[in-house]
Symmetry: C2
Subunit: 338 residues, 2 copies
């Protein structure tokens, strides 16, 4: 068997029409189950299509069908990363619910770079998707202009702290940060540190941090120590950062991590050094990764509804939801590390 063996054209609707001895329009109607046609025509067409191995060409279909009727059945998705498990979870919810509605997702990964997002949006738009799903509320001016001009539905996921372009689905990162700080304060911690990755990149983490600091201030406290890392978030990085932080400010009694994977790394660091958690230092993460629930001491963290956000995004598009914000909230996971 040879690849590329197909010499010329693939089977078209005209071939099926000839084979079934009906007109092209009839084939089109039967195959889409739209409009009226006789039972006999239906059978012949289906039979002929199967025999010929007809595969519809959706490029042609979307081009011909006026955008308003079906749209391209493509949905563009831009996420900042695939490394951070948060985003695959989002995707999972999104694609899972999207393809039950017959949509296909075209995805792009921006690497937390607004310029890259701009390029991706431009590129995705050229497929005339019926909707675009983005992450976060911050986009370049040009991206916003293009999005507006496209005249399609836009969903911005994850962050509800600010105005969106159309549909916004997520939770308040600020509130997550705030609630995390409140929890630590209520548990009696006072010399609280922060370990996070580059805040100028991950704007959601920055908002959590802002909420966190605000809660400290409201309680008459301030951040006791902090360690920022400029790598992509990972357990190894979290571990190193915690160790650096504790070396500089050994009396820190609790640490807030911008992400569970770093918190997990921090926890491993404590285990390795024989530090009691939370005796020596308390640890608090964010996102409630599955793994952290299986730990001997479950990590204290905040559950964010990632899968649900993806699902809600898909559903809002399918249902033609009105513009507006859908806040899915978050939930404290008490855990045993803070």
């Amino acid at each position: 068997m040879t690849l590329h063996q197909v010499p010329g054209r693939l089977v078209t609707i005209a071939d099926v029409a000839r084979e079934a001895q009906v007109g092209e329009s009839t084939v089109s109607r039967v195959l889409r189950g739209q409009g009226s046609y006789s039972k006999r025509a239906g059978e012949r067409v289906l039979e002929a299509a199967a025999r010929l191995g007809y595969v519809p060409n959706r490029l042609a279909g979307s081009l011909a069908g006026n955008a308003d009727s079906v749209g391209s059945q493509l949905v563009g998705v831009v996420i900042p990363s695939l490394t951070n498990i948060v985003f695959p979870d989002l995707l999972r919810g999104l694609t899972g619910d999207l393809d039950t509605t017959g949509f296909q997702s075209v995805i792009g990964v921006s690497d937390y770079d607004p310029a890259r997002e701009e390029t991706l949006v431009e590129s995705l738009l050229s497929w005339r998707p019926s909707a675009l799903v983005l992450t976060g509320l911050e986009h370049t001016a040009l991206t916003v202009t293009r999005l507006r001009a496209a005249g399609i539905r836009i969903v911005e996921m994850i962050d509800t702290d600010g105005p969106g372009l159309d549909i916004v689905v997520g939770f308040s990162n600020r509130a997550v940060g705030h609630a995390s700080a409140r929890h630590l304060i209520e548990r009696g911690y006072r010399r609280i540190g922060y370990v996070g990755h580059d805040l100028s990149q991950d704007l959601r983490a920055a908002k959590r941090f802002a909420g966190f600091e605000a809660a400290l201030r409201e309680a008459g406290l301030s951040l006791h120590s902090q360690e920022l890392v400029f790598d992509r978030s990972s357990a190894a990085v979290g571990r190193a950062a915690l160790e650096a932080l504790m070396a500089r400010a050994p009396d820190t009694d609790a640490v807030y991590f911008s992400n569970d994977d770093m918190a997990l790394g921090g926890y491993f660091g404590c285990l390795g050094r024989g530090w009691a958690v939370p005796g020596r230092v308390a640890l608090f993460g964010c996102h409630a990764l599955d793994i952290t629930a299986a730990m001997p001491q479950p990590l204290s963290t905040m559950r964010t509804p990632r899968l649900e956000i993806g699902r809600a995004a898909a559903r809002s598009l399918a249902d033609g939801a009105p513009a507006g914000t859908i806040d899915l909230g978050f939930e404290l996971c008490q855990g045993a590390t803070a």
Copy 2:
């Protein structure tokens, strides 16, 4: 500002042509930087396109351009899951290298279900992608027929244990299993157990298991105990399974997990019960997730080149590699748990 405000048509190439006072073909040539055109024409077109906010319509472009020249610039991707971090890693390598070549990925998640894969392939094919990237070598007969008839490049990722349709990129799962068993045997373990998720679903895991058992047999051993789980692989599931296995066969001295996340869960279980690892029981995983390297005792596991597989898949398509298998191998991570 209203969404859907665009009343009628979007800007087309004809609009740009009129604005720039050149012919449509010239616009097309300039915008694609193909063929020859004067400097002056180039400037006018670019300027007009920018002023009008022209967004090319790739549906039309791909339809018009004969498949052989550019193809649709879409690549269809089918992965079994987004939960298992293995697949986002694959995607990351793939999309990262793909969009530097101007390709966009349309993805589908099959949930380890061949029938679902069949549907997804059918659906993806209708976008006339220039290539399809699948996971694994096993597909339904109809899928294979369709793939062959499509006349496009096919990449099958991850598994090299068998014949592929066109390009195969991955490693030998059988060999991974075999090498894992060899390692345990060489380290002196004799009463070896297995914890894995449903082997009828995850065919790669099944092949690893087969290689593992073969190595045991060759050494005159047999599997001492095993515990299969039918949930999706996770740390919690791994922990529970290990505990169940140790309850049934307390003298098991080493356990092979089909996946690192389960191994990690198992490790947590041991920590929780105060069992020495590897004193009480040794643990060996698969895939070398990032996290496991940050553990106080790094997990003993097998590093599989997931990112590289995605990259190699993208590259082989971009370069028009010949049909064949690219084996990227794997690497033992000695770790400290086995």
